[in-house]
């Protein structure tokens, strides 16, 4: 019978202190030096990591009740509006929300980073006043300790692969993929490649709802499929999606996070985003999973898209792989183009290594997912339709 190991067995080894863990990078050289079969039998867990800008990030906060109490209707944190159309003193602050006084310089991501850094944050709220919540206005200071709950809930993180951005137009453009010079003078990419969580488990066989992960320097969880989770995109012969595919919605405790792994970012003339440090341990439960974690940068292909075309479907100018991209230049349409990353490979490596340390020290246990992620679905576009079209479409798809 083929060799297998269960997550329960792995956790027992973590408890006993004899678990063997390698990062998704280390496993590659191990398989080369010790051989495929030996490495498979030896390594229990492979850790992954990524540290890139993830706009779909935000946090739920509960401020506690003031005296007299207020039913917050509008709320600002350091002049950044948060959403409080939920219970009286609950709010959600989104990473990309901009400050009303400082604009692009400061946004929701900065508020989250400041909270994690134990800095004071100015809270301002207004209300219409009710019999049970008479106060109409409040201004005070908070930090993460003073909050009842403060947790990250990110609807879409850890994109499985992405795209390469290039600009064929005659003017410089400013995008979430950085500054792109005219006439294909540079190209940017954004993935941890061979270290990236979902590229090491391309069919979501171990990563699912309930999986315990590294999030922002603390232990967090996969909460749901991420928004725009799109496993059905075209895949190469190794099963790696060519372009953005699976995504994760994740949850984690701000009170336990470390600022080093949650960093606010400003992309010139685009806006605010947040670099999120995320790592997922992959239990090597069988040979198929082992084969998957041996993925290398050269196995991961990614389409080059023209970001100067401001349309939903941007023209693809070619397909390259991450080994080529990390070399510093690629050939696109017969021309050599300089390439640069937007996500930090150094930090991705650090996160995978940190997660490995936690497991070795017996501080982090692996979890079975409680529900797998969808394996077969696409992203739907938003069409501009009238009510009649909607009804016809609804009947057709029913």
């Amino acid at each position: 019978m083929a060799f297998e190991r269960s997550i329960e067995e792995i956790n027992e080894k973590i408890r006993c202190g004899n678990v063997v863990v390698a990062t998704a990078e280390e496993i590659l050289s191990m398989a080369e030096s010790d051989g495929y079969e030996n490495t498979f039998r030896k390594v229990d867990v492979v850790t992954t990591g990524t540290f890139g800008p993830m706009c779909s990030t935000g946090a739920f906060l509960n401020f506690g009740h003031s005296d007299p109490p207020i039913k917050m209707q509008k709320v600002w944190l350091n002049d950044v509006p948060a959403y409080t159309g939920i219970a009286a003193v609950d709010a959600y602050i989104g990473a990309t929300e901009l400050s009303e006084s400082r604009g692009f310089e400061y946004g929701g991501a900065h508020v989250i980073e400041d909270l994690i850094a134990d800095k004071p944050v100015r809270l301002r709220a207004t209300s219409y006043g009710t019999d049970c919540y008479p106060l109409r206005e409040i201004e005070t200071y908070i930090n993460r300790q003073m909050l009842n709950q403060a947790y990250i809930f990110n609807p879409r993180n850890a994109y499985q692969n992405y795209t390469v951005a290039i600009n064929t137009s005659d003017r410089t453009i400013y995008t979430y993929m950085g500054i792109l010079y005219p006439k294909m003078a540079n190209a940017t990419y954004c993935s941890a490649g061979q270290l990236s969580p979902l590229l090491n488990d391309p069919f979501y066989e171990t990563i699912g709802i309930g999986t315990r992960i590294f999030l922002g320097g603390a232990q967090g969880y996969v909460a749901w499929e991420g928004t725009q989770h799109s496993p059905s995109v075209a895949r190469n012969e190794k099963g790696i999606p060519i372009g953005g595919a699976g995504t994760l919605a994740v949850i984690g405790d701000i009170k336990k996070m470390n600022r080093r792994y949650m960093r606010a970012a400003v992309f010139e003339r685009y806006g605010v985003s947040m670099y999120v440090g995320l790592g997922v341990p992959i239990p090597v439960i069988n040979e198929k999973i082992f084969r998957n974690v041996l993925v290398r940068d050269e196995d991961i292909q990614v389409p080059v898209l023209d970001y100067s075309v401001g349309r939903r479907k941007r023209p693809a100018l070619g397909i390259v792989n991450y080994k080529q991209l990390r070399s510093g230049s690629v050939v696109i349409q017969g021309r050599e183009v300089k390439t640069a990353p937007i996500s930090s490979y150094k930090m991705a490596r650090e996160i995978a290594t940190e997660l490995k340390k936690w497991i070795l020290k017996g501080e982090f246990f692996l979890s079975n997912y409680v529900q797998p992620l969808p394996k077969n679905q696409n992203v739907k576009p938003l069409e501009i339709r009238d009510l009649e079209d909607l009804e016809v479409e609804y009947e057709k798809n029913r």
């Binding site: 992309f267 670099y275 150094k346």
Partner: protein, 148 residues
């Protein structure tokens, strides 16, 4: 050994990095040609923006065998009305807060900023920097600045 010899050799040559601003009128004239030919000053152009009927800008490194010769050349430029500013400013990075993402390397045309292929750390080579300041705009962490 080799490195020290190279350094000593460098010391013998007098170098100066300056920013030159030309008026519209001067842009049409072969100023650099005369500086090289008549004053024997080597000119290494690091950054140039010279367009017809516009104020021109050059960042150059002058080198000559002695200071006197170099100053003569600079006086010649001054006599033509070229504005000369010494480059004492430089690009500085707050290393503590840098995340080594590499976004700045994307816009760095001079190759002063790069990601090391092994450590994946950001490397900055001051010598290659032409002070175009694009990295300041590209840095998502806003940790790159210019110091005077």
């Amino acid at each position: 050994m080799k490195k020290t010899a190279k350094k000593a050799e460098r010391r013998q040559i007098f170098r100066k990095r300056v920013m030159l601003t030309f008026s519209q009128k001067l842009v049409g004239q072969p100023v650099m040609y005369r500086l090289i030919k008549e004053y024997d000053v080597a000119v290494n152009i690091l950054f140039a923006k010279v367009l017809p009927n516009e104020t021109g800008k050059l960042v150059v490194e002058f080198s000559a065998s002695d200071e006197k010769r170099l100053n003569k050349g600079i006086n010649f430029l001054k006599s033509l009305g070229v504005r000369i500013e010494p480059i004492s400013k430089e690009i500085v990075r707050d290393e503590e807060n840098c995340i080594d993402c590499g976004a700045c390397t994307s816009v760095c045309r001079s190759g002063a900023l790069s990601i090391d292929r092994k450590s994946f750390e950001l490397v900055f080579d001051q010598e290659k920097c032409v002070l175009c300041e694009m990295c300041i705009h590209a840095c998502p962490m806003k940790v790159i600045n210019i110091s005077f």
